[in-house]
C-alpha cells in the first residue's frame, strides 16, 4: 500500500496511508487461506465475518463485501484505519506466525472506501415499532447502538454535547490518520438509517437524564472518557502546557492547523515534550511535528513493550522524526518570568513489580534527575469518564464514583431502562471495544423494548 513520504507528509495533514487499489486488494485477499476455524474472527471483538468478506474481495464483489462487513460493523472505514489489528484480528491470522498476516485492516478500509466512492446502499429498515430510544454521546459506542436499533425499526435520537458528531473520531484522532470526511460519511450512513442527531445538547445540562427517561422508552449512555488526567506536578499550569485533549480538540475539531482561516489558534514552540505513551500521546506528537515543531520528544515512563499504541503509528511517528525516550518521567515543569514553560525536570525510571494494570510499575531511580529544554508540553497520560450527565443519578456510578457500572454482556445499569457502554464504562479503551459494547447493548435494549408491552 502506498504511503506518503515522511518528508512530504510532515508538512501536511493529509492522510498518511493511501489505501489499496482494486488490484492490490484482490491480490492481498487472494493470500487468505479461508481457514475453516477462522482464528482471525476470534481476535475481532465485534465478530466481523473476516474470511467471508475477504473471499468476496478476492472475487471482486466489493459491494457484497461491504454489506458483509456492515452486518456487524457500523464504522468499517474507521475501524480499517484505527483498530489495533496487530493486537486483534491480524495477530490471530495463521500467517502471522510467518510474519506476514493478511492485512485485514487495509482490506476492510479498502472495501469501505470503495463503497463510499461508489455510493452506499442503505438497507431498508422495517416498519416503525413505535418505541423511542435516546442515545447520549455520538462516539463509536453511541453510533453503533443507534444504527443497530434503527435497523430494528426503533426511533432513535442521539444527543451530542459538541457541535459535531463522532466523539473521539472527530475531536481526538487527527485528520492524517482518520480524515474527517470519512467520519462524516459513516455518520451520514447512520443518519440514512433514520437516526436523528441533536447537536449542542449537553445532557445533564440542557436535558436531565430524568427528562430523557420520561420521554423515551430506553436510554443508552455512551459519553466516553473525556476528562483529561493531569500529572499533579509543579508547573503544570504554566502557559505552553496543554492537556492532549485541548491540543487535539483545537487541531482536529476546530481545525487550528488552518488558523487564521479557521479562527481557533494553537501554539506550538520549537521543542515539544509529550508526556505519555498511548495513541493519544503519539497523535499529539505527530500533530506537533506537522505544526512546525523542530524537536518533538515523547517521554514515557515504561518501555516500548508496554506502550499501548497501534504498532504502525509508532513506526510512522519515528519516521516523521518523533523521538521517544523510555523510562523517563517528568517531575516538574519550570517556566520563565512571564510564566511560559521553558524546561522539564525528569527522572529516569526502572521497571519494578507488576501493578494492577498487569504491567511492570515504573520506579524512579534516585539521583537520576536531568532537565530538557522545551517550550511546549502536551500531557497525554489518560482520560477518565466525564460524568456531567450523571451527577443526578449516583446509583449509576461504580463505588469509586468515577465510572459507570454496567453489565459487560448487556450494558444494563442498575437503573431500569438505562444502558451504558464504551469508554464511559471501561475507561479509555479502543474504538472496536466501544462498538462491541454498543452492539451488545443494542441487543439487550431491543429485548428490553419488546418486553415492555
Amino acid at each position: 500500500m502506498a504511503i506518503l513520504d515522511p518528508t512530504m507528509r510532515i508538512r501536511t495533514f493529509d492522510e498518511v496511508t493511501l489505501g489499496y487499489t482494486s488490484d492490490q486488494a484482490k491480490r492481498e485477499a487472494a493470500r487468505c487461506r479461508g481457514c475453516s476455524q477462522a482464528p482471525c474472527r476470534r481476535g475481532c471483538p465485534i465478530g466481523v465475518d473476516i474470511p467471508g468478506f475477504i473471499s468476496l474481495v478476492k472475487e471482486g464483489k466489493f459491494r457484497e463485501a461491504a454489506q458483509r462487513l456492515r452486518e456487524r460493523n457500523t464504522l468499517p472505514a474507521v475501524c480499517g484505519r484505527v483498530c489495533p489489528q496487530d493486537r486483534n484480528c491480524e495477530k490471530h491470522c495463521v500467517l502471522a506466525k510467518k510474519g506476514a498476516p493478511i492485512a485485514i485492516g487495509r482490506l476492510e478500509r479498502f472495501v469501505a472506501d470503495w463503497e463510499r466512492e461508489h455510493g452506499m446502499t442503505v438497507p431498508p429498515t422495517p416498519g416503525s415499532t413505535g418505541k423511542r430510544v435516546a442515545v447520549v454521546g455520538s462516539g463509536p459506542a453511541g453510533l453503533t447502538v443507534a444504527a443497530a436499533l434503527a435497523r430494528k425499526g426503533h426511533s432513535v435520537t442521539v444527543f451530542e454535547a459538541l457541535h459535531a458528531p463522532g466523539g473521539v473520531l472527530s475531536y481526538g484522532i487527527p485528520q492524517f490518520r482518520l480524515p474527517k470526511e470519512v467520519v462524516a460519511a459513516e455518520i451520514d450512513y447512520v443518519c440514512a438509517l433514520g437516526v436523528k442527531i441533536e447537536l449542542n445538547t449537553p445532557i445533564g445540562k440542557l436535558y436531565s437524564l430524568r427528562d430523557l427517561r420520561r420521554e423515551y422508552d430506553a436510554v443508552f449512555l455512551g459519553t466516553g472518557a473525556g476528562l483529561p488526567r493531569l500529572l499533579g506536578i509543579p508547573g503544570e499550569h504554566l502557559n505552553g502546557v496543554y492537556t492532549a485533549n485541548e491540543f487535539l480538540t483545537r487541531v482536529n475539531l476546530m481545525k487550528a492547523y488552518l488558523f487564521p482561516e479557521y479562527a481557533t489558534p494553537v501554539r506550538v514552540g520549537k521543542r515539544v515534550a509529550v508526556i505519555g505513551g498511548g495513541n493519544v500521546a503519539v497523535d499529539a506528537a505527530r500533530v506537533a511535528v506537522r505544526l512546525g515543531a523542530e524537536e518533538v520528544v515523547v517521554l514515557y515512563r515504561r518501555t516500548l513493550v508496554e506502550m499501548p499504541v497501534r504498532a504502525e503509528e509508532y513506526r510512522f511517528a519515528c519516521r516523521e522524526g518523533v523521538f521517544f525516550r523510555f523510562l523517563v518521567a517528568p517531575l516538574e515543569f519550570r517556566g520563565d518570568a512571564e510564566g511560559w514553560v521553558r524546561e522539564v525536570l525528569c527522572t529516569r525510571c526502572e521497571l519494578g513489580e507488576v501493578d494492577e494494570s498487569g504491567r511492570r510499575r515504573p520506579v524512579p531511580v534516585p539521583g537520576s534527575e536531568f532537565t530538557i529544554p522545551i517550550d511546549t508540553v502536551i500531557v497525554a497520560i489518560g482520560q477518565e469518564p466525564n460524568i456531567l450527565a450523571l451527577a443526578e443519578v449516583s446509583e449509576l456510578l461504580t463505588p469509586s464514583g468515577r465510572f459507570v457500572g454496567a453489565d459487560p454482556e448487556t450494558g444494563a445499569t442498575p437503573v431500569p431502562g438505562v444502558f451504558a457502554g464504551g469508554d464511559l464504562v471501561t475507561g479509555a479503551a479502543t474504538v472496536i471495544q466501544a462498538m462491541t459494547a454498543g452492539r451488545r447493548a443494542a441487543k439487550a435494549i431491543d429485548r428490553y423494548l419488546s418486553e415492555l408491552e
Binding site: G226, L227, N239, P260
Partner: protein, 283 residues
C-alpha cells in the same frame, strides 16, 4: 439543535452589544450564573458567554458582550434574521441564590451583564441588596436602570469621573463599607484585576466574596482542561466546577497569566478581520 435565529439587537454602549436569540430549550433551563458556548459558523472558534437574561415564555436568551476579539466583533455584526450556528448550554453551575441578608453586588464594565440576573434572583430571595458598578466613563455604563430597580443604593464609579465617584469600583466598594457597614455576602464580576482588587479588600473584612471567572475555554463541558484554575490549592475546571468561585481562594496571578496564552494569535486574527471588513466597507 443548530442555527439559532437572532431576533433582537441593541447597542448598549460604544462597542457593547446586546443580542436576543431564539433558543427555547435553553431559555427553559437557564439559571442565573450559567453560560453558553457559541460557535458562529463552521470556521469560527468556540467562546463562552454568560447568559445575561432569559425569557422562558418568549423562548429567548440574551447575550451581552463587548467587541474585543474576532468572535465578539463578528457576533456584533449580526443583525436580526441572521443565525448563530451553534449554541451549547446552559453550562456551568448556577449561581448560589439564597437568603444571605445584606448583599453587595459589584460589577465592572461588561461584567454588569452577568451580574444583573444574579442580582435580580438574590432580590427575589428578599436579600437587602446594594450595588457598586463601574465603567471607563459615563457612556460605558450598562444596565444602570435595571440594577437600580433591584439594588439600593447603587454606587457608581467611573475612571474619568464623568459619573459618580472618580476611580475604580474599589473606590465605590470602600465608600459602601464606610457608609453602610460590611455586607454579609458579596458577588463581584468584572475584569480580573478588578475582581482581584475587590477580593483583597473584602478579605480584610472577612466578607465572603463570590466571583465569576471567564478563562479560555474550548468545549465548556469539562473535556479539555483549557479552563483550569487553581482555587484553594486545588485544580478546578471553570466550565463545570464554576464559573463562580470563592474569590478569596482563587490563584489570581495564574488566572491572569493563562488568559494571555493566545494574546498574540488573538491580535492577529482580529487584525485580519478588521482589515477585511474595512476594505469591504470602502468598496
Amino acid at each position: 439543535m443548530i442555527n439559532f435565529p437572532v431576533v433582537g439587537k441593541t447597542e448598549l454602549a460604544p462597542g457593547i452589544k446586546k443580542l436576543v436569540v431564539e433558543a427555547p430549550s435553553l431559555a427553559a433551563k437557564a439559571k442565573p450564573g450559567q453560560f453558553v458556548v457559541l460557535h458562529l459558523h463552521a470556521q469560527g472558534e468556540r467562546i463562552p458567554l454568560t447568559i445575561a437574561d432569559f425569557d422562558r415564555e418568549e423562548g429567548t436568551i440574551t447575550l451581552i458582550f463587548q467587541e474585543v476579539g474576532l468572535t465578539t466583533f463578528q457576533l456584533g455584526s449580526l443583525e436580526p434574521g441572521d443565525t448563530i450556528r451553534d449554541i451549547a448550554g446552559p453550562l456551568g453551575r448556577p449561581s448560589r441564590v439564597d437568603y444571605f441578608g445584606k448583599v453587595l453586588c459589584v460589577g465592572g464594565g461588561v461584567g454588569c451583564a452577568p451580574l444583573y440576573p444574579i442580582a435580580r434572583a438574590l432580590r427575589e430571595q428578599k436579600n437587602d441588596l446594594a450595588a457598586v458598578v463601574g465603567a471607563r466613563s459615563r457612556e460605558f455604563l450598562i444596565l444602570r436602570k435595571e440594577m437600580e430597580q433591584v439594588c439600593s443604593p447603587l454606587i457608581i464609579a467611573t475612571d474619568d469621573g464623568s459619573e459618580g465617584l472618580q476611580g475604580t469600583v474599589l473606590r465605590g466598594v470602600e465608600k459602601y463599607f464606610r457608609e453602610y457597614g460590611k455586607p454579609d455576602y458579596c458577588v463581584c464580576i468584572g475584569p480580573p484585576v478588578m475582581m482581584e482588587a475587590v477580593c483583597s479588600f473584602t478579605r480584610n473584612y472577612k466578607v465572603k466574596t463570590v466571583v465569576s471567572l471567564n478563562p479560555i475555554m474550548v468545549d465548556g463541558t469539562g473535556m479539555c482542561g483549557a479552563c483550569r484554575v487553581v482555587v484553594g490549592g486545588e485544580v478546578k475546571f471553570a466550565c463545570v466546577d464554576g464559573p463562580e468561585f470563592d474569590g478569596h481562594l482563587v490563584d489570581w496571578e495564574l488566572f491572569r497569566r493563562r488568559l494571555q496564552f493566545y494574546k498574540r494569535e488573538e491580535k492577529l486574527a482580529l487584525g485580519a478581520f478588521l482589515r477585511k471588513s474595512r476594505s469591504a466597507g470602502e468598496r
